[in-house]
């Protein structure tokens, strides 16, 4: 109970810290501007205007969420260490795991608010332009949120033991690996089937692709823009199982981050 209370207090303070961060405002305003710009893109495009507005805005949500998760996320722990505020905080009767989890939920709340603001603008824009604002679009937004939940956990994991720049690079690496791991596996298997690779190297590449696919979180699962924009139904229980999948990764990443953080010395 006490631990939950500590997590809540740290999360609230993290939220307050983040919403006073200039980087956050830059990203939010850029996202809003790009969202509004999608109307212009819709007019210019040779594709269906509604399709362009819907898909562009979902991409903006995903990209801006990613930027917040990485650039605000990795600085959260590093700033505490560099400014030595961590010394006073961790001398209180709170565990280091509570600190990491509190930071996580604080930033998750920031991303949730950011996506909520964009969602409201999104639906207003769809209503004004008559671009069929269906509720199914919320599915895609929810999955973007799940994806960001994983990315924030990755950012916190790296920032618990490496510098800001390295954390950003590592997190971006995991993000791209997570999005491309499925394609990589398919391509390697395809090339192998077509006989474009020799025996040993084929087996080696396939094993590497399988490992990458198994270890890195499959973030490609959370990109369902083309489904919802075209009104294609997602498989049954898709949301449920992918929420569980995200929760699993978040749990593992936060556990490793907490374990690593608890071994650290603070000078």
């Amino acid at each position: 109970m006490q631990t939950l209370k500590h997590i809540g207090i740290i999360a609230l303070n993290t939220f307050r810290e983040s919403i006073r961060d200039k980087i956050l405002y830059n990203i939010v305003f850029l996202a809003i501007a790009l969202t509004l710009f999608s109307i212009v893109l819709g007019e210019w495009s040779v594709f269906d205007r509604a399709y362009v507005i819907k898909s562009t805005t979902l991409s903006v949500m995903s990209l801006s969420g990613l930027l917040i998760s990485i650039f605000v996320g990795i600085s959260l722990v590093q700033k505490e260490i560099q400014r030595r505020t961590v010394l006073t905080l961790l001398s209180k009767p709170i565990s280091r795991a509570s600190f990491i989890v509190g930071k996580y939920f604080g930033l998750l709340a920031v991303v949730a608010v950011h996506l909520a603001i964009l969602t409201i603008i999104y639906y207003l824009m769809l209503a004004v332009t008559g671009a069929d604002p269906t509720l199914s679009l919320l599915t895609a937004i929810y999955l973007i949120f799940c994806e960001m939940a994983v990315v924030i956990a990755v950012a916190l994991l790296f920032s618990s033991f490496s510098s800001t720049v390295l954390s950003a690079l590592f997190t971006l690496g995991v993000y791209f690996a997570g999005h491309l791991s499925n394609q990589l596996l398919e391509q390697v298997r395809f090339a192998s089937r077509m006989g474009e690779m020799g025996g040993t190297s084929s087996a080696l590449f396939e094993k590497a692709a399988v490992v990458i696919h198994a270890v890195f979180p499959g973030l490609y699962r959370y990109n369902v823009t083309s489904y919802v924009v075209h009104g294609v139904a997602l498989p049954d229980m898709y949301l449920f199982w992918n929420s569980v999948y995200a929760l699993g990764y978040v749990g593992v990443f936060l556990a490793i981050a907490s374990w690593w953080f608890s071994r650290r010395d603070f000078l």
Partner: protein
């Protein structure tokens, strides 16, 4: 309250993880109700010891207990207050918001939290307008007061302060000194490090001196200074030739002034004066100060 036995801490740095032994078997005990001063030169291991006690640093070997619990256990910090050296805080908060944040972390809320904040600020003479300003506008002294205020919000049984008087003007130092004494009267055990040895001498029940990662002296201020012997300064009415001076007595820059290295040398000089009809005009004794002893210990460690 604090038990440290043979504590060792090694820092590793650089690409090759070069190691440096920062604490070389530190041992001391702090009893409940004491004001315990921890002194030593920069880099001697004061802050390292304090950070081990507060759970901020891990250690390789030795026994460390804070409130009867290992600092690796969160429970050791339940009744602990800590203010780091040159405290840094969230500069986007006001002083009061910061105290509310830390107060909540030690389990306070509502009216109790507000009254505890008011009490802490009053104790440190920080109940001024500036407490509602953002921390980024604070001077070093204001920051130090807020740092100590946050450490006492939870009414700790043990208060650990790392250089609580650094960055303070004379008034600020007096306020902090008085706050330490008041808290101790209220039953709080205080362990603090400081470079201001005159303050340490005036308020500490016991003192430990650390040099190069080792405790070189420990005890009350009297015990430490007495252990180094007492010098006697004697002035006579008539000059005495240096060649005639008894063993252990030396001239103190004037033919009528002498320094006796110990009690026996003093007695020899007085006997010599009586035997030769030389009147003694003045005699006083001088104990070495903590500063003298610390300087001597540093020189010994360097040698």
């Amino acid at each position: 309250m604090i038990e440290i036995e043979n504590l060792q801490k090694t820092y590793r740095s650089g690409f090759l993880m070069k190691s440096k032994l920062a604490l070389k078997g530190v041992s001391f005990h702090v009893e409940a109700g004491q004001v315990y001063g921890f002194i030593g030169p920069n880099g001697a291991g004061k802050s390292t010891t304090i950070k081990v006690l507060t759970g901020l640093l891990n250690y390789e070997s030795g026994k460390v207990l804070v409130n009867g619990v290992s600092p690796r256990d969160v429970k050791s910090r339940t009744f602990l207050g800590y203010s780091p050296e040159q405290p840094y805080f969230y500069d986007y908060l006001t002083g009061r918001e910061l105290l509310q944040f830390y107060g909540k972390l030690v389990g306070l809320s509502g009216a109790e939290l507000n009254s505890r904040i008011d009490w802490a600020l009053a104790l440190l003479h920080a109940d001024k307008d500036w407490i509602d300003r953002r921390l980024r506008s604070y001077s070093k002294g204001m920051m130090q007061r807020v740092g100590i205020a946050q450490s006492i919000l939870g009414k700790p049984k043990l208060l650990i302060l790392d250089e609580p008087m650094s960055g303070l003007d004379p008034m600020g130092r007096r306020d902090v000194r008085e706050a330490i004494q008041q808290l101790n009267k209220d039953g709080v055990t205080i362990f603090y490090s400081s470079h201001l040895l005159s303050d340490v001498e005036s308020i500490s029940h016991k003192v430990a001196m650390i040099v190069d990662g080792k405790i070189v002296r420990e005890g009350t201020v009297d015990e430490i200074t007495e252990s180094c012997g007492v010098e006697y300064h004697v002035r006579t009415r008539k000059a005495i030739l240096a060649a005639d001076l008894p063993e252990g007595v030396s001239l103190a820059g004037h033919p009528q002034e002498f320094v006796c290295a110990d009690d026996a040398a003093r007695d020899r000089l007085l006997g010599f004066c009586l035997a030769n009809g030389i009147a003694v005009e003045r005699m006083d004794h001088k104990r070495p100060s903590l500063e003298d002893i610390l300087t001597e210990e540093i020189a010994r460690a360097d040698a």
